[in-house]
């Protein structure tokens, strides 16, 4: 009887997982199949391989300077990630390791900023960027996202698992504070960094609203902007939309699969 229930439970679990997996993969599959069909077929809801892949690619390439657009996205995502990781890890480490009277108050203020919706910041930020003469440059996209309270929070939490005795040992070994950070903390916490890399890179790559506001000329635009502008054309070419969507999704997939192991480890905690 027990065995029977166990099997039933196992079966149900699998059924659930299969459904969930199908639900997550279906849009992806739709996108890939759509890229091979004509716009008309896609509109009719055709689900199957078509022969229009090449045409779709051509019309997508005609729509925008694709290599430049990809390069813009990549540049923005990588620089954002690099700066965010540097700033947030130093801040998280500092918040956790160094005691001071103001520390916890400051930290609370920082966490409060998580509750301000981006929409409320958009206009002041835009004015700020205008005064700095950064509108229509990539710095306008990169700078506001660097001081990420969430990533600082994530690093502070992860730093709780960083053994303080390692710091003591390094001090006895003659390392200065910045050397302790670079030579001990960073390598020890590398899976935390990897997880943060995945999160920040994906967010930066997929970022849409803010780039839409500050990037105005075609040569500064990112892939997400291009996808949406193809999709919102008067007569959208759905084939080209699908091709662009694939291109927009690929890098995050690659990053995730490359760093999957470290990502999971980082989420579980760097130090065991």
């Amino acid at each position: 009887m027990d065995l029977y229930f166990q099997r039933l439970r196992g079966g149900l679990v699998y059924l659930f997982l299969i459904t969930a997996a199908f639900l997550s993969i279906f849009p992806f599959l739709w996108m890939v199949l759509g890229a091979t069909n004509t716009s008309a077929d896609i509109s009719r809801g055709k689900f199957g391989l078509g022969g229009a892949l090449f045409d779709n690619i051509v019309s997508f390439l005609a729509f925008a300077d694709v290599p430049l657009i990809l390069w813009n996205s990549l540049k923005i995502a990588l620089l954002t990630t690099l700066f965010t990781l540097a700033v947030a890890s130093i801040a998280g480490y500092g918040f956790e390791i160094f005691r001071s009277r103001l520390r916890d108050r400051l930290y609370r203020v920082l966490l409060l900023t998580l509750m301000i919706p981006f929409a409320a910041l958009m206009i002041p930020l835009f004015i700020m960027m205008g005064k700095l003469h950064l509108i229509n440059t990539h710095w306008a996209v990169i700078l506001p996202s660097i001081g990420s309270a969430f990533i600082i929070f994530y690093f502070r939490q992860s730093t709780k698992a960083f053994p303080l005795e390692l710091r003591d040992a390094a001090r006895v070994d003659g390392l200065k504070e910045w050397q302790i950070f670079l030579l001990i903390y960073v390598p020890v916490m590398r899976s935390t960094y990897a997880a943060a890399f995945v999160i920040v890179f994906m967010t930066a790559w997929n970022n849409y609203l803010w780039p839409l506001i500050v990037l105005q000329s075609n040569d500064t635009k990112t892939i997400t902007l291009v996808v949406s502008s193809i999709a919102s054309a008067y007569y959208p070419d759905y084939g080209a939309v699908m091709v662009s969507a694939i291109l927009a999704t690929l890098p995050t997939l690659i990053v995730f699969f490359l760093m999957q192991r470290q990502f999971v480890q980082g989420m579980l905690g760097s130090v065991k």
Binding site: P163, A170, R171
Partner: protein
């Protein structure tokens, strides 16, 4: 010559004073052990010596030079941590050579010193491994190796064996003792394990609440404690403390005597110059192992529990007050009922109600 000295050293965390006016001289080559209950400030004191905590007031000298504000790496100390604190991303070899690299020692010499230390600790086959691939005992040896490599004037150990299982702990304890003999190094060692303290130390420093209660060789502390705290802290099982009252000049012979109130027994006192006036409440201490069948005095103990350990027998029982422990060597037939626990009056220690020893 004194290798390390602390003069009126204090430490406060905010308004909390955790180390209070500590004076201590440590001779070159001596193995000094700090013991004391949890939270008494052992680690803090050690970390102050290492330079990992600031010294609030007082002076620290190492090798004759004042070191209060010197960087930890320049004090001539090396430290072994409770969690070993090996750098997980470096091989054993890199871990051991790391400090020398930062001191600007030439590579060839680093290699030589690392190999020497590895040979002493039998770490040669493990040099290329990462700490994660080592057992607890091996990590411990690497941590010690990392300290040895630097040829420090003073080794500092903070409870280095507390993460090991009992068997390995005994083994490493012996290793550390051998190593000390071999290197002739000055060692300061923090533990709250008495056996470690008694077996390793040339000198034990007993700390309580940030103050030194007594300093002395293990046997001095055992046989001649300055106060009730040290008497109770050193020795296992713990010394028995019995409430007593100085008797009014009379056990019939008119000599000085005390009455053990829980047992209604009056015991003659010899050789004390400072016994308080008759009627004063005092505390009498007797170690469990001082009870023996030939004793000239006896306590009638109602047995509550007997522990047969084979090598010894522990009898727990009481008169009218608190539980006391009696320890007999070997296997004993004692089981139940009452025990006439005999002892010699000369083996008693006397303490004032405030816990000071009466001599």
């Amino acid at each position: 010559m004194s290798e390390l000295s602390l003069r009126q050293v204090s430490k406060s965390f905010g308004t909390l004073k955790v180390i209070k006016d500590v004076d201590l001289e440590i001779e070159q080559g001596a193995f000094t052990v700090f013991v004391g209950p949890s939270g008494c400030g052992k680690s803090t004191l050690l970390r102050m010596i290492a330079g990992l905590e600031d010294i609030t007031s007082g002076d620290l000298e190492i090798g004759g030079a004042r070191m209060n504000d010197t960087d930890p790496s320049k004090r001539g100390i090396a430290m072994v941590f409770q969690s070993y604190a090996l750098y997980p991303h470096m091989s054993v070899r890199q871990n051991m050579g790391f400090a020398l690299r930062f001191a600007g020692v030439p590579k060839a010499q680093i290699d030589r010193q690392v190999m020497d230390a590895a040979r002493i600790l039998e770490l040669e086959p493990l040099l290329e491994r990462k700490p994660g691939q080592l057992s607890g005992g091996q990590r411990q040896r690497v941590a010690i190796g990392r300290a040895i490599v630097r040829h420090p004037k003073v080794f500092l150990f903070d409870e280095p064996l507390s993460n090991l299982d009992a068997e390995l702990r005994v083994h490493m304890r012996i290793e550390i003792a051998k190593l000390h003999k071999r290197l002739g190094a000055t060692v300061i060692y923090v533990t709250h394990d008495q056996v470690e303290a008694m077996t390793l130390a040339d000198k034990i420093v007993v700390l309580r609440a940030g103050r030194i209660e007594q300093t002395g060789t293990p046997l001095e502390l055992y046989t001649d404690p300055d106060n009730q705290f040290v008497a109770g802290f050193i020795g296992s099982p713990k010394m028995n403390f019995l409430p007593a009252r100085v008797a009014g000049g009379g056990d019939g012979q008119g000599g000085p005597a005390v009455t053990l109130e829980d047992f209604g027994v009056t015991v003659p006192v010899t050789g004390l110059k400072n016994l308080p006036a008759p009627g004063t409440r005092i505390t009498v201490g007797i170690r469990p192992e001082k009870f023996n069948e030939q004793g000239d005095q006896g306590l009638s103990v109602a047995i509550e529990m007997v522990e047969h350990l084979g090598s010894e027998t522990l009898v727990h029982g009481r008169g009218s007050g608190d539980l006391i422990t009696v320890k007999y060597p070997g296997i004993s037939a004692i089981d139940d009922g009452r025990l006439d626990a005999r002892f010699n009056a000369g083996d008693l220690l006397y303490f004032t109600e405030g816990g000071e020893r009466i001599r």
